[in-house]
Subunit: 353 residues, 2 copies
């Protein structure tokens, strides 16, 4: 299952050492600082909203890569520094990601409500994009209007919009507070140091990175081997909606292993970036598998949001009914994403060396 280029026993592969890791971390730290500067410049500007969103995304992107590399190549880095750094980077990217997550969750749910209503009030392009992406709206899709919905669907849409917009607004405030906090300034200072000076262990500069990268890939393939891929590859297995009406408040422990694989896939991808020094050949299989797992996560969280909204006191039965349909629809999206992952993963690996 191991891809050729990460095979440490591959005699054709040239050795990649800790120096490459240092180079990667420096460049990601530089990206982080650039994104931070952009964010500060645009945060107060009148038309800086889009740039500010892009900058926040870039911040998260480099924070995830630094954090992931610290994890995968742990033995090559100063332990104290590394163990202090990682949770702070995780806190940062988690805090900065929430606003966007609520926004895209609302978009996904409103698009689904429109699809379920057979509504023609959406621009055709948005619906087609939605279908092509398997229900996942290409951002930045404008939030659709609530025309042509049934009373139930319209009320469900309004309820979700209210709840998720509130959550998004709170996440926005939290992110702003985080960016102004001393905790954040401490992280930023550390990243600034990292941009020039990577705390490698004394032997790291000449240590081969490939065994550690291969171990990261092995953790991924082991986790994938433990997934119920046989079931997932059988269309319409109706697994994702089992427990859909369970009294258990977190009824979908079945999603956990898939979320875990999503994280391991990301770590594997970052390890490849380190090894290829930013010029990793595109791996279509990894890309498709990663997209399927993102869709899985998004649909899982959207389904939970619909179920959560249905527990709002004093809603009309028609609203609750629409939320039930919506919940089931998103759980089927979860199942569809697992099928898509299975299909992507079973394809032969075709990698340029």
């Amino acid at each position: 299952m191991a891809t050729q280029h990460l095979d440490p026993t591959d005699p054709t592969a040239s050795e990649v050492t800790g120096n490459a890791l240092a180079g990667y971390l420096r460049s990601q730290a530089t990206e982080f600082l650039r994104a931070l500067r952009l964010h500060r410049e645009n945060g107060s500007a009148a038309n800086g909203a889009a740039e500010s969103v892009d900058a926040a995304r870039a911040l998260r992107r480099s924070a995830r890569r630094i954090s992931g590399s610290l994890h995968t190549f742990r033995p090559l880095l100063d332990t104290d520094w590394s163990e202090e750094m990682r949770p702070e980077l995780a806190w940062l990217s988690g805090t900065l990601g929430l606003e966007h997550a609520y926004e895209s969750r609302l978009e996904r749910l409103l698009l689904a409500l429109h699809r379920l209503s057979g509504s023609t009030s959406l621009p055709a392009q948005a619906v087609i994009t939605d279908l092509a992406a398997g229900g996942r709206p290409a951002s930045p899709t404008p939030t659709p209007e609530r025309g042509n919905l049934t009373v139930g669907a319209a009320k469900a849409g309004a309820l979700l919009e209210r709840q998720l917009t509130l959550a998004r607004t709170r996440a926005h405030s939290t992110a702003l507070q985080a960016l102004g906090s001393s905790r954040f300034h401490a992280v930023a200072d550390k990243v600034a140091v990292l941009a020039s000076e990577v705390p490698l262990t004394p032997t790291a500069p000449t240590t081969d990175l490939r065994p550690l990268a291969a171990a990261a890939e092995e953790r991924l393939t082991d986790a994938i081997a433990a997934l119920p891929l046989l079931t997932a590859g059988h269309p319409y297995n109706a697994e994702a909606l089992v427990h859909g009406l369970s009294p258990d408040p977190s009824p979908h422990p079945q999603d956990g292993p898939w979320h875990q694989v999503r994280l391991l896939l990301r770590l594997h991808r970052y390890a490849r970036e380190v090894l290829y020094a930013g010029s990793a050949p595109m791996d279509v299989r990894l890309l498709a598998a990663g997209q399927a797992l993102n869709r899985h996560r998004d649909a899982s969280e959207a389904a939970a949001a619909a179920a959560q909204a249905a527990r709002t006191p004093r809603i009309a039965p028609a609203t609750a009914y629409a939320l039930g349909v919506l919940h089931a629809d998103q759980r089927h999206e979860v199942e569809a994403a697992r099928f898509a992952f299975q299909q992507a993963w079973q394809k032969e690996t075709v990698n340029a060396p």
Copy 2:
């Protein structure tokens, strides 16, 4: 697409004439009379319920076959007699079939509610049978209890049980009334005559049946060619739930062509029985395709029943939510059945000559 044995140009096939049709109609009429006698004998017996159900099923079975053959081989039969007979047979099998339909619809919906609740209170066998048959319970599955359901699922189950049991009781009374009516006696008398004397046209006894049987098959293959099989063959296409929240009171005109194919497939199957004089070789493809279309019809009607129940005034939001999940689940069953049909139909025809 035409199967070999119905190809009228096939020089290896032996000619089958109107006499074979007469033989088939006589034997079906005899079956009808036997079932009627059984039904009368068991209708008043204390433990005759199961036999009575079997007898009613056998009555419908032969009524459908007579009616279908009258349709397919219309030109070979006395027109006035045929046109009088068919609507009466359709009325009879429709009336007798309703009770069973409501019963199995309730079973299907309660099993689905249990599956969706991740309930373990059902006998394992029932659940396994349910999954193996793609959600369609093998009769006679006992009606599952409502243990281990959430409040919403339990209330939804109770509501469906109330509504469908009432409908079933009414259908039972209607069927009993029908069997005692002068209208029924007139049909039974005609079938009794048919058992000995088939009103063929003068030329029918020596007319080849195969062109008419081939025409029935052509109507089937034409109708199948018009189905959206490309979409159906693409798993998780999410088509069946489009309009799931539509304001339209009959939101699923998309099911119509599939229901029509189900009827045409049945006519084709009966025409094969006529040609093979009751010893038609088993056609696995036809069998699988027919089962998929039955499942499609059952799921479509179960989804409609869940949606209908959700319109009951003054139900709790939790009940409505559970009905929404259930409706969506059954619409996905509809989609799964279309996929199963597409898979069955695309298989090469393997027929013994």
